[in-house]
Amino acid sequence: MNDRVEDGAAGRSAALVWAVNIAAAALVLLWTIPTVGLLVSSFRDRDQIITSGWWRAAFSSTANDFVRAGTAADQVQEGDVFVISGNVLPSKAELKSWGVSSKAPAAYQPGDIAELKDGQRLTVSDKGDYRLTSPTAFPEGRGMRIFVTTVAPPRLTTGNYARVITAEGIGRAFLNTMTVTIPATVIPILIAAFAAYALAWMRFPGRALLVATIVGLLVVPLQLALIPLLKLHNQIGLNQSYLGIWLAHTGFGLPLAIYLLRNYMVGLPREIIESARVDGATEFQIFRRIVLPLSFPALASFAIFQFLWVWNDLLVATVFLGNATDTQVMTGALRALLGSRGGDWEILAASAFVSIAVPLIVFFALQKYLVRGLLAGSVKGG
């Protein structure tokens, strides 16, 4: 890509190059902001997420909250007054102001004394220590609410990830997704490579028609096949199992795989294959020794596609694998989390990152083949 930009700009001013670079950088920034936000959120705890946006993660945050004072059971008698004492501050936070009513939650400064009903008095020091006194014994009941406005220093935690992977069942779902994804990527590639070679280099009647049929299958929506296919699986005893979902994904992935690989293989130099034939190589030898190694970029680009598609799939997994906890895939587990913990963003953000980690690794490991394989498949053609 870089070459082309420089070639195109060779005769023009350097300013244009800069404009292009800056525009590209701005677009990249724009597109990655949501992901960055999600990443930052996944390291913040629940209270921080509620009180301030992720872009303020690096600064101190001001939070309004209330703490319950001790109850009658905590009171001690000092002379003729009854005292309940304790601390209202979370660790490392600073007290800014406090109050005793939801109508005026910041009425008092640290050190002030609030006069309450029945001669009770409350004071909160700047360290957060409170002291509630009363001339008579405190009655039974709930502790009163002390409203506090606190300033907390920035802090990041990996606790969300630990919780998601262990307690929320995402770790288990991660392994299930692996179990589904890897065979569902490998099997179609194996089959499609043979088919693509046959369709590209072997002569037999009806070859063109077969290619046209496969291209036609590309536009059939897979939703059409869900119920009939599951019915078939049930009848032949596959039911909802890993084998069933591997076969289903293989079937749904094959048209694109064959199409992509065949177009790439057709573009390989005819001379090599012809001379191999002249030298007496069998079709299988040509396929294994010549075509397969040369087609690696196309294989890799299809592998990325299929891997990402299967990894992110929810529909096919729910239909062919079911919803049981012990076989649930990651997308299913995430949906369950959305339902039960829809308000807990820290949990959702962390699980989202667990789920995109592997596709990112796969993508970056194989991305140099992606563009090459794609271009080869589409441009050279037929």
Partner: protein
């Protein structure tokens, strides 16, 4: 090398996928409030060792855990093993599985409309005369529960297909008693007082309501509950019944009055936390949290009895949060109508274990083990009300008993395309700024289209 690692991970995943047994919360015979005698007699008459029962339903998260403790009691009594595969997306999952011939043994259906649809397709097994008789005799307002569970089969013949278990009460307003106390507000006894209180809170500089309609693909359903509650408060129960069958059209002035009555609360920027524009986009699970922050974002939240599951952790019902009955107009003489909903159990695959489970649901103990925890109300008269996990549930039970009219969630009775489709989206459009007449006309049009 990586490939080997990945493969071994896959093998590990396969190897560890053993089923886990459910945990019982209450030990048989220990707590005398429970009807353990019904457990013992059920246990004596049912032996299903080694049999498997598969149940699908809409409950995930906390509810799933609670239901699994009920299943544990069934497992302990019979020796059968029960697999509960429920969670979000139940409506689509059950349709696919039933059509493809791999149904669960029992399905827990949240909308009677969906159960009726399954019955019509011939996918359900009737529960029989004995169950029908038992239901009419042992449930409060038994005949109405029989009617709600009776659907037409594939041959058009009506029979009892569904047994209701777990009821939700919808006509509730949640609030923080301490915030009311701080501001000097009283719990309103009539709709007139509720509206006056709403205006008073605004005059005092506060925001009275938290309303959120967001719920993923089901966004809009909380508004349909509001409209149903207003229908029962503006019109007679007969009008309400006619409305759920479309004998009374959506465009009828009576329905428009109810929609606009909801709009009085939800479409006023000063009445709703975040302004009217936030109503459609706030998630219903997030919206009650405004009650508990400092300073309070709102003072009241109208939502069904299940909502405490989404309150912040550690919230004590009855102390940090409480509820009152969503009152009726004193001036309209319509009594005390109550809106509710429930989940109906249907048999999608007839097995000995499934039949036994329906008999289990008819024992008091099946209700009591969930009652004793949270979020469960039952119309079964033979249970011991002392078992209820907290005073709140008991108070809800009282509302249920004192109701002069009980009506089932109307949108659940309507055909799916309306009650779980255009009614939801129409309400989102309505709070987004459209007129009630326009929205009602669109909903009516979608209903006409499926007649």
């Amino acid at each position: 090398m990586t490939k080997h690692l990945l493969l071994s991970a896959a093998v590990l995943a396969l190897a560890t996928s053993a089923a886990f047994a459910h945990q019982m919360k209450f030990v048989p015979g220990e707590d005398s409030r429970f009807h353990w005698d019904s457990f013992d007699s059920f246990k004596a008459s049912h032996a299903l060792d080694g049999q498997k029962l598969v149940i699908d339903g809409p409950w995930g998260g906390v509810d799933k855990e609670l239901f699994e403790s009920v299943l544990a009691t069934f497992e302990a009594a019979t020796g059968a093993s029960v697999e509960y595969n429920g969670g979000d997306g139940f409506e689509q999952r059950i349709m696919v599985n039933v059509e493809a011939g791999s149904p669960p043994d029992i399905a827990v259906v949240p909308q009677p409309g969906l159960a009726a649809d399954l019955a019509k397709r011939g996918k359900l097994t009737p529960l029989g005369e004995a169950t029908q008789k038992w239901l009419a005799e042992n449930y409060a307002a038994g005949q109405s529960w029989v009617d709600l569970g009776t659907y037409a089969g594939p041959d058009g013949k009506k029979a009892l297909y569904g047994l209701f278990y777990k009821v939700d009460l919808k006509s509730l307003v949640w609030y923080s008693p301490e915030n009311f106390e701080d501001a000097g507000y009283e719990v309103p006894q009539t709709m007139e007082e509720l509206k006056a209180l709403t205006e008073k809170i605004v005059a005092d500089g506060g925001t009275p309501w938290c309303i959120g309609l967001g719920s993923g693909p089901a966004t809009g359903w909380p508004a349909t509950d509001w409209v149903e509650d207003m229908m029962l408060r503006d019109n007679t129960p007969a009008d309400y019944d006619a409305w759920t069958t479309n004998a009374l059209k959506f465009t009828d002035p009576k329905v428009l009055t109810a929609i606009d009555d909801f709009g009085w609360f939800a479409k006023n920027d000063k009445f709703v936390a975040g302004g009217a524009g936030a109503v459609g986009s706030t998630d219903f699970r997030d919206s009650p949290k405004g009650l508990f922050v400092s300073p309070p974002q709102c003072y009241m939240h109208r939502q069904a009895s299940f909502i405490p599951s989404f309150f912040p952790e550690g919230t004590k019902i009855g102390e940090d949060a409480d509820f009152f009955y969503f009152p009726a107009y004193a001036g309209k003489d319509l009594g005390k109508p109550v809106l509710g909903a429930g989940t109906v159990f249907v048999m999608t695959h007839e097995t000995a274990a499934a039949k036994a489970f329906f008999e289990f649901l008819q024992t008091p103990i099946a209700h009591e083990v969930w009652m004793a925890r949270t979020g469960f109300l039952t119309p079964l008269k033979t249970v011991n009300p002392e078992v209820y996990g907290d005073a709140t549930l008991k108070k809800m039970g009282d509302i249920l008993l004192n109701a002069s009219t009980f009506r089932f969630d109307g949108s659940d009775l309507m055909p799916g395309a309306v009650g779980a489709g255009t009614f939801w989206t129409g309400m989102v459009d309505y709070v987004g700024g459209k007129e009630s007449a326009t929205v009602a006309a669109e909903i009516q049009k979608s209903w006409d289209a499926i007649k």
